[in-house]
Structure formats: structure tokens, C-alpha cells
Symmetry: C2
Amino acid sequence: MAKKQIVILGGGFGGVYTARCLEKLLPPGDADISLVNRENYWVYQPMLPEVISGSIALTDVVAPIRRLCPRTNLIMREAEEIDLKNRVITVSPGFRPRQKKIPYDYLVIALGELTNFYGMPGMLENAMPFRTLADAIALRNHVIHVLEEADVEEDADLRRRLLTFVVGGGGFSGVEVTAELNDFVRAVKKNYLRLRNEQVRCVLVHSRGRILPEMADPLALFAQKILRKRGVEIILNDRLVAATSEKAILKSGLEIPSKTIISTVPATAPPILAKLDCAKDKTKLLVSTALELQGYEGQVWALGDCASIKTVSGKSVPPTAQHATREASTCAINIARAIRGGTPSGFAFEGLGTLASLGHGSAVAQIFGLKISGILAWFLWRTIYLAKIPGIKSKVRIGMDWLIHLLFPPDLAQTKVDAGSAIKKQHFEPGDIVFHQGDLGDSVYVIERGECQVLREADGATTQLATLQAGDYFGEMALLSDKSRNATIQARTALEVLLIPKADFDILRKSVPAFGEVFHSLARQRDEAGRNPSSAPD
Amino acid sequence: MAKKQIVILGGGFGGVYTARCLEKLLPPGDADISLVNRENYWVYQPMLPEVISGSIALTDVVAPIRRLCPRTNLIMREAEEIDLKNRVITVSPGFRPRQKKIPYDYLVIALGELTNFYGMPGMLENAMPFRTLADAIALRNHVIHVLEEADVEEDADLRRRLLTFVVGGGGFSGVEVTAELNDFVRAVKKNYLRLRNEQVRCVLVHSRGRILPEMADPLALFAQKILRKRGVEIILNDRLVAATSEKAILKSGLEIPSKTIISTVPATAPPILAKLDCAKDKTKLLVSTALELQGYEGQVWALGDCASIKTVSGKSVPPTAQHATREASTCAINIARAIRGGTPSGFAFEGLGTLASLGHGSAVAQIFGLKISGILAWFLWRTIYLAKIPGIKSKVRIGMDWLIHLLFPPDLAQTKVDAGSAIKKQHFEPGDIVFHQGDLGDSVYVIERGECQVLREADGATTQLATLQAGDYFGEMALLSDKSRNATIQARTALEVLLIPKADFDILRKSVPAFGEVFHSLARQRDEAGRNPSSAPD
């Protein structure tokens, strides 16, 4: 029997737990397991809001996937295309601009969800989502930034805007983010000499009559009471519909002047799944109770937040961590049976209960039919989640973080890494290759100093097509035609070039037509020259 | 007596310790203390290399300046101009693009040094400096990135390049960075399935005959022996002179194929000091033994790495943390005396010794005339530095970090926050202001959808100069003339604009003349129209 290739897309609860189960179920000789994920870590999602206040250090809320699944090949790239017919995954290029193809025998799709601001003007630019570690770090740094600016700002109106925080969505994530943010801002405010007597506004906006729709009435009302007591404004039966850099705009027409808008809704499956020709429930992949994709039974499974799942008893499965980890076991068992033979097992887990933290010392919990609120629920929250974290190191670190957070005031250091511009210079020494024929076109170049030659390889022979100098552009053809490079560029002298990445190039040529025309006319010239081969680049 | 305004520029050892001493020496009624720093935290510099391996968590190597100096006004902006004559500091704009002026009675300049790659082709783009927390985080993330890529890469040549790490400069910083990097890469390599049998190269390049010039011969030789035993290649009597994205180039002509080039040399004072008309020693500010700037005695002090200082016994003061903290005390005492009267005190500290960590379990130390090496020196290193960290919270956290690092393998999660492009979209609602007349010109705009009006305020009256629509540009005049906005732009309808920041705009108009010409001709038209006032924007 040939070694089977199992490919898992996504490194969240679904993907990582599937890999862990497979490592236990299948001996190394039976299958190679690969996992494709843009990050090399797995995030302990339920604790992510605690990164805002630093009650958990930002490095402690994640664990390296390589340690969690030591036998799995991690591929830290982005999945760009799923070819179900030919059983091949295409992933994004790395340092060298070439895509990589990964063939599979068995595929697991566990790509989660994204925040989708479609049809909500200004939200993409001005509202911050809260799903990933990067989101949490960005939010924490942003909140510290507005506090620092408020402390310096002399305009009272702008200062109020800087001290107003709006959170959209009153589900688990929205409630926990609001609670953490509110606690954090109020705790560190006293370190800002000029802000001690300023008002802070934290506003939670929810579309229904009460927050936490997944929980029982009394618990949700308890949560609302606690949050309000701690200074949170709760706006019910309304929702965020638009944003500018100065304010949040609600459906009712209400405008809230604010520099910080966080949105935890709405969600959609990743765009790569939209291209798949298979059964769906809205944007989610529709799977059987055995988690198999319809039409690809025994070959492709989908689970977690990107899949629409029903249990064997017919109930819809909610997108939570406790469900995703159980789906992962079912999926791994079914893959093992697909390899060795056996009937697929159906997903039957009905959930143990729900928990929501309300910040320092309070929570609500609904477990085994019991409803618990206050400090006991908070203690339960911490105990359960700490017990569930895989690995002793993470348990020790998070335990220590919590202890230190109880004893000392929260940290308020901003750990922002300056982004800088995407348009940047590059230096090449004589003989260096700028790009190779056949590479993906990911940028255009402008020569600032030096010379380079355009080389074309065909039938094993290399022809020099042209020499380019300061002021010349190259690399536009592959970008304009969306094809790969049709020539190799090699530096003849020391070469200084300006590199404009594809994304910026595309935006600029659309909005500044004269800019685009420079490259279009060049591409036309070169294309003609290329047909009667004497000169022609890229 | 009017309350005195003391302004400190820089939040390193020099600046923060000066503020701390001043808080002790001067009662709140005597003086306001302000500190200008781009970050809101102070970095415990000697431990920065440990961030690479995660032996200290990246948030634990910093402390919030507001906690260290609770009575000091922190201004989290960048100092852009020092006007010694009029005693005013200009700082960079915040959310609103207007500069801020800060007048002072007494000024402390403690701006440190920067890495300067002038005259070294390709170094700016391809070599990573190692001075700030951002540098350390960027390096850690980059190292993890090359390991991840090496694990996926099939080209053996590129894989070798990805696994080669070059460090320039064999002083304290270079040696400690090399040691940490080497330890880290070799420790985590075993988690990469395809890299277990690959060779890792760590190369340290130093310009003299032996590393650690500040230490005695036997200690430096011990350090070289330990590093070599652990797999570090040491290249002596040579130095980095250029770099490309594929290799490091040394003075001898030797080329080292590598994707990771770190340079800890050479250093220069920040550019803002170059503009100052005062006595200097190369780029550093020349001060008296009382740390006073020549010609501004009793008014301006300079200390730390940006100052050239001699002790009262005539010795040059090295740029180390132990000296900077003592300079801070002398400076604070002298400011107190300038306010209350008294003779300035001279700087007399001669240094207690030197320490260099060589990574896990080894160090070299030269203290009170004793030369110590190996595990005893390493223990001494940790004890001394832990004792010197201000604040119990930091001591506890770093102590815990070290303990956990001894018990568990190093963390290898990459915590990169995607930068994205600087060219971005913005959304405005009807009536919103895009920018105000008088604001600094920090970007140009292209209208993608909607309409806006150009308003000019003069003598209390507002005139509408023009209406702009999709495809129109605005904001170019202030950028091309380097002046502030000469009009206000207000959205008439919902408005979608593309914002091109000044830095990108300047690069693009220089390298793509047709792009620049679009805006130049527009500015000329509008300038003419502005003279016979009927239409004219920006």
C-alpha cells in the first residue's frame, strides 16, 4: 500500500486537533500529514480578548503548531486554490515568487471564518475585526495609541472621540472584548496625568433585545447588569452599518464620534471556498453527519466554522471550540477508516454548556443545565479553560500571567512595529538576478541607478533581448497580463531599483490613469518588439 | 517663582533615569517635567538579545514610562526640531496633522544613537539593525520565517541561504545577538521535520583581530572559543560593506549567501542633532563634565549615547547603561541646582566593569579587576541585571521567564502583524471634513466615488472654491510646496477616496515622472486659478 497523503487546510481548533488525532490513529508508515496555515502557531481563541489588557501576554495565548503536532508537515503559506477534481492544493509563493502545488489523497478543510464588511461603507478601513492574534495585537496597540494621543490633545472634542470605544456584536466575542477593553482603559487611565478626570465611553451595540443570544435569559440579563455597573453603555436593537475615521454610524441613524470601532460581526467563509463547486449552506460548506463534503465522500471533509454541520440527531452545530475539537476527532476517525476500511462515524456531540467572561472577577456559565454567574462562574471559566489548554508550558505561563495580573496593574507598553511603505528600494550587485523567467509577477521595477539586461531562455539557449538603464521600467508585462515572467532580469552593474508591489501598482494604475498609461504603452511596445525579436524585456 | 518647564528628549536609560531623579529632587510645585519619546515604553536594553530566543517574553523586556516616572508628562511623539535660541521643541503631529510646539526652560537631550548604513550599498534595504524592541521583534519573526521557508523549499541552494545567518560587529551587542540567535536556531531546528539533518551557519564578522574590544584578552579569547564550540563561525579583520537580498558582502570581497544579515555597527547620532548649531565631536554633542551643552550652560544638557562626555578625570565615557544612569543623576542634580542655585557637579563615575552573555549557561565578566568566565559569570550576569531592573513586576516576570526557559524548549510562534500597504482607501459621510485648512499636508487624495467641496476660510468668512468628483485629485499643492493646506475639503455626498501618503507620493513622482506631472500640472492650474479667485482647491 502506497503512503497516503493527507492535507489539512487551516490551523485553528479544527485543523490542529484533526492533525493531533491523526498522529495518534495512523502509524507514520501509513500516511504523511501536511497542514497548511498562514501562521506557524495555533491561537487559544477563547483567551484572545485577554490579550487586550495584557492579562495574558500576547505570546502565551498561542502555541507553535510544530510542537502540538510534531509529526505533521507544517506549510506556512496561504492556500490559494483547491482543485477537488485533480486533488491538488495550490499555495502562495514564499521568498521565490513561484506557487507550490500539493497533491492529496485525503483533504480536510478547516479554514474558519472571516469578518465580512460587504455593503457597510467605511467599515473595512475604519472598523477593526477581532478574530486573529494580529487583530488582538493591533487593537491593543491602537487603544494605547488613542490614550497617548488623548493625553496630549488640547481639543476637548477630539479628546472625547479618542476616549470613546465602540464594539459591534453582543455575542461571546463582543461581550468579552468589551469587558476586557473597559477594564483595561479604566485601569490604566490613572497613569495618564491629564486623563484622570476625563470620561471614558465604552459602547456595546447589539442587534437584538438582549446580549448573549446563546445563553439563558437570566444570565444574559446578569451580564448586562454587570457590564453597565462597570460603565459600559449597551445599545440594543441596533447595529453598526457604516464608519468613518471619526465616527461609528448605526442603523437607527445614531452616530457615535469615536476613533476606535471594533466589529465582531458579521462572518463569512473565506473567499477561497466561494470558488468551490459543491453543496453549500450560504457561504459554508455543507457536509454530512460524517463531515464529508457532498460528492467527495471518503475524500474530502470539512469542519469547524467554515462548515455547516448537523449532528446525527439533526441539530445544527454551533461554531465553538468545544464542538470543533470533537468534530476533529470524528474527522480523524473517518479518515483512518477511509484508509483502512470501515463505516464512517457520525458526529453526535451535543455540547457541554456555554461560558462568557465579563472581565475581572465575573462571568456567566451554563453547564449541565446549571446557571451560574459572578465570581464562581469566573473561577469555573478560568479552571475549565486552563485545563483545556494543551501542553504544560502554556498552562504554567498562563497561570503565571493570571497570578501576576491579580497582583500588579496591567501593562501599558505599546509593542507596535512600524509598518513603513510597501514601495521600497532594492540593491543588486553585478551578476545578480532580479527575477527569473517563469516566476510569478509580483511587482514592477523602476531603475534608479545602474544597468541590467533582459535575458530570454528558450530551448536551452539564452538570448539577450535588451539592456535597461536608469529611468527605465520593467516587470510590467507579467503584472498587466497576469502571467508569469517571460524573461530573466540580471544586473550588469551595481543596480538600485524601486520596487512597486502588485497591490499598490494595481490601485495606482486604476486611480491615476496617467500612471497606468506609462506601463500600458511600454507593455504594448515591448509586446510588438517581442514579436519581431530584436529587443523586448520582461 | 514661576513653575519651570523641564523637557527631556528620549526615553532610554539617560532620559528615563533623569526624569526619575528629577521627580525625587524637585517637588511638584517647582517644575513640570515632560518627556518626549516615540514609544511609551522604556527598553531594558541589555536583555534585548534574549527576545530573539523568547527566553524573555517580548513584553517583559520593556516597562511603561508612565509607571517608571509617574509625575512626568509623557508625550508619545517624535521630536522633529530643536530650537535652542527660542527654547522650543517641535514634535510630530498625531491624529490631526498639526505639529505641536513645546516651550522649555531646561532641556535634556538623551536621544541615543541610530544604526547608519551610509555608503554601504543595499544595507538599508537588506540588513537588519538591532537597537530597538521593534528591531528585536522583526528579527525574531524573520528568523522564524526563514526556518519555515527552508522547511518547505526544495532548492538546496536556496535552503542553505535561508539557513545562513550573518551578524556584523563583534562588540557586546553583536556577540550577544549571535549567541542567542545560534542557540535559538539550533534548539528549534529539531521541530522542523525536513531540517533535522540540514547544516545551520551562524557567522560573526568583526573588524579587528579579536571580538569584544572592551574586554581583556583572555576573556575575549574565551568568548571566541565558546562561540566556536557552539557552531558559530567567527571571521576576524573583515567587515560588512554591502548586501543584497541574497547575500552579505565583506570588505575582503568574500560573499556569504544569506537571507538574514544583522548589523550592530556603525552608529551615528540621530539626524535631528545634525541640524543643531553647537559644539560636536563627530556627530555627537560635545558637553562639559557637568553634561552642559557648550554655549547653553545651565539651560541644555546632553547625555547618553548621543553625547561625547569626559569624566572629571579626563577619561572618555563609554556608551553603556551603567554610565547613562549615573549621567542621569548628575544631570538631574545640575538641573535642580540651576533652578535653586548652586555650582554644577561634574561627572566622575569610572565604571564598575563589563559583562557579556554568551548564551545558555556561559558569559564573560570583568568586575572590580576580576576576570570571570563560564557559568559563574553567566550567573553573575543574570543576578546583576535582574537586580538592576526597576519595579517588582518586571523582576518577577523576567525571573519567571528565565525559569520557564530553563525547563521548556524555546517558543517558536511568529507574532508578525501584517503591514499591508500604506496606500489605502478612506470613507467619509456627507458633511465630514477630509482635512482642514492649516493642517500639515501629509497625503494626496484621489476620489473614487462621490463629491466634495473645496472651502476657503478668510477673515471669518467661508467661500466655496470648487466641487470635485470621481477621478479628481486633491491635496497635491501642500505636498508639492511643502506648506500647510490652503483650503478645507468637505464631503458633499458619501465619499470614497484613495489616500497616497507623502512618502509614497514623493518616491513615485520622482521615479515615474508621468505620475508626478499629473499632480504638478494640476497644482499649476489651481495656483493660477487661485490668483483670480473663482475656482481652486487644496
